[in-house]
Symmetry: C2
Subunit: 380 residues, 2 copies
């Protein structure tokens, strides 16, 4: 049994964009989809009702590393899994933990068997192996698991990138083998996506994708992006990879991107994305609107009675003014983060809905041109 089933419902004739339906054990997800990030079993500041009923989010991402460290996957398993723990009835994707091990944790040592690292909270020693991260994610009860990968920093040499990528492929094979064993006789459906690495070298990305395709996985992720590289390189890596990945499986670009970039990834065949930007920027006072970015602390918003975005239908925009949000921000009020996050995530979801509608209406190429023009004007 496949853990998730992907169905392409429309394709753009000019780009690689497609609209689809991703069937998971916790509901059907319209793609392309943006997944809000719920790092520690919570999208910061938002309740399940805010996310489900108000924002219409159908899938969240949670961080395996963070939940493994605190409160621990065994506790979450004991409490009925992550869905029950965080009262989330829709789908959950968990990352492999690899990215956090390489970006957050203290001393770490990579070997053929996995990675030994120190907790960023208390320095305690831990090990992730391709098998153990599958076990952790199954304990969490994730719908879509990620295979352990090494996420090299940027830049690295071609030599190191090749060595690292080949290890990631071997890890993916081990994770896949372990996952299939664990799934034998399992009553609940889960999917495991391997992650394409290869730093910023198109040949390595292609080699990696070719090797991973042999696993016949339910979906594929493109990782190692947003690690400090220039933005055109990220898109180039997706292009190098995408044509090799099977078109009947979902493709997930990890950790991207800015609002204007979402359509660029979709145009390159990406179906799923996640990013902390909408929530983190919200908390830092950066609000995304259909007319560009707002920095809420600016004095010009002091007496601005308009909502953040006059075209937005989110709870925040239907109730509150920029002036009120600025006051809350300046006062360090919790409600600011709550309302701002609600808006920014809605903005991302609205963009994805617009993209999907355009693909289905056969007008995505026009949509993309408009986004590029608006983006150029804002930059200019």
């Amino acid at each position: 049994m496949r853990g998730v089933k992907f169905e392409v419902v429309a394709e753009c004739p000019e780009t690689r964009a497609r609209a689809g339906l991703l069937h998971t054990p916790h509901g059907v997800i319209e793609t392309p989809v943006f997944m809000p990030v719920g790092t520690q079993a919570t999208v910061k500041g938002l309740s399940e009702r805010d996310l489900d009923e108000d924002l219409g989010a159908r899938i969240l991402l949670a961080n395996t590393y963070h939940l493994y460290i605190r409160p621990g996957h065994e506790l979450i398993r004991k409490l009925g899994g992550l869905h029950r723990f965080m009262a989330w009835k829709n789908a959950i994707l968990t990352d492999s933990g690899g990215f956090q091990v390489f970006s957050l944790s203290g001393l770490r040592k990579i070997s053929e068997h996995g990675v030994v690292f120190q907790s960023h909270l208390d320095g305690s020693p831990h090990q992730f192996t391709p098998q153990s991260t599958v076990d952790v994610q199954l304990a969490l009860g994730s719908d879509i698991l990620m295979a352990l990968d090494e996420c090299p920093e940027y830049p690295v040499s071609h030599e190191y990138a090749r060595e690292s990528m080949q290890r990631t492929v071997r890890w993916a094979r081990q994770a896949d083998e372990h996952f299939r064993k664990r799934m034998e006789g399992s009553k609940t459906g889960h999917a495991l996506f391997p992650i394409v690495q290869g730093s910023m070298f198109p040949d390595l990305r292609r080699e990696c994708a070719q090797a991973l395709v042999e696993l016949d996985a339910d979906g594929y992720a493109v990782g190692g992006l947003s690690v400090g590289e220039p933005r055109p390189l990220s898109l180039e890596m997706v292009e190098a990879t995408e044509q090799i990945l099977p078109s009947d499986r979902p493709r997930y670009a990890m950790g991207v991107g800015m609002p204007a970039e979402l359509a660029e990834y979709v145009a390159r065949g990406i179906d799923m994305m996640d990013c902390v930007l909408p929530s983190r920027n919200a908390r830092n006072g950066y609000l995304f609107t259909s007319a560009g970015r707002i920095i809420i602390k600016h004095a010009r918003y002091r007496d601005d009675e308009r909502p953040i975005d006059e075209k937005c239908k989110c709870y925040t925009c239907t109730r509150y003014s920029r002036a009120y949000l600025r006051h809350l921000f300046q006062s360090g009020e919790i409600l600011y983060a709550v309302l701002a996050t609600r808006h920014n995530i809605r903005r991302y979801l609205d963009i994805m809905h617009g993209i999907r509608r355009a693909i289905i209406a056969n007008s995505f190429a026009d949509y993309l041109r408009c986004v590029r023009q608006a983006s150029a004007e804002e930059a200019g």
Copy 2:
């Protein structure tokens, strides 16, 4: 025209408790009522929908001092008043600012004309007079204003307490006179409550109440409580005051109290209360339940699947476990404060509903005995 109209609908034959209806320009409020505190134009972490629809709050308290300092009452007036600014359609009571001037601000100097003080934010100099605080509260558009008072620290000498109380009475007369002038020809209804002071001296409390009753105000507050005195003294001061205050006007005990004390104040004729305890304690990890207090960080809640309070119908309790809340608290997550505040305020409002039902059902004396017994058992 009276700004608010009070209607007694039931009285306890054994105590001074009564149930009433307080008619305000922004809705009818069932009393006894607990007013959640929205210091800076927000009950920390809660949206207007959380407060109105989920919690059923019909009146909030906002702090004149804080809003005067930031963002400024003139800005709020320009933006259509506090109701519109914070998107709150129900009633608002504002305090006089006096308590904050005496507890928060830097160097301050009291004179016959008012109090000169420094902002706690930037040290800038300001003055509150009996007239100016009425003007500030009218700029905010408050339904129920408080007259400027001096809130002496505890303990003070009888001599100082008398001097201070007499000044508070003179200020209340000036505030009342100014308020009545401002109300001439006003199209919107507002009420001004004077505040009974007198430190912990029953004779001064009585003298103050007698003088203030002459103002024929829409309601009366008992201030200067919860300033560090032993709890029995606070109740004694209310007792000394209450019998002098007119029974057809609402009586408001400012800044009280713990859950088990609410019924004690009601038993002494109090109709309105406010306190930061439910919201502040929530943020600090102290949760109130029908079976006593929970300190959520305790290890015993690590794998506790039960809601905070199995008898509670609040959003938090219908969705989330103690284990999840403990995880959010330990992780410093914003959502913890949001969910915990929602529960604790609901607990206070539920207590008040229970008290009101008991008064109407003619069983308040029994209710009070049960509260006292449970409280004694918890303490023992």
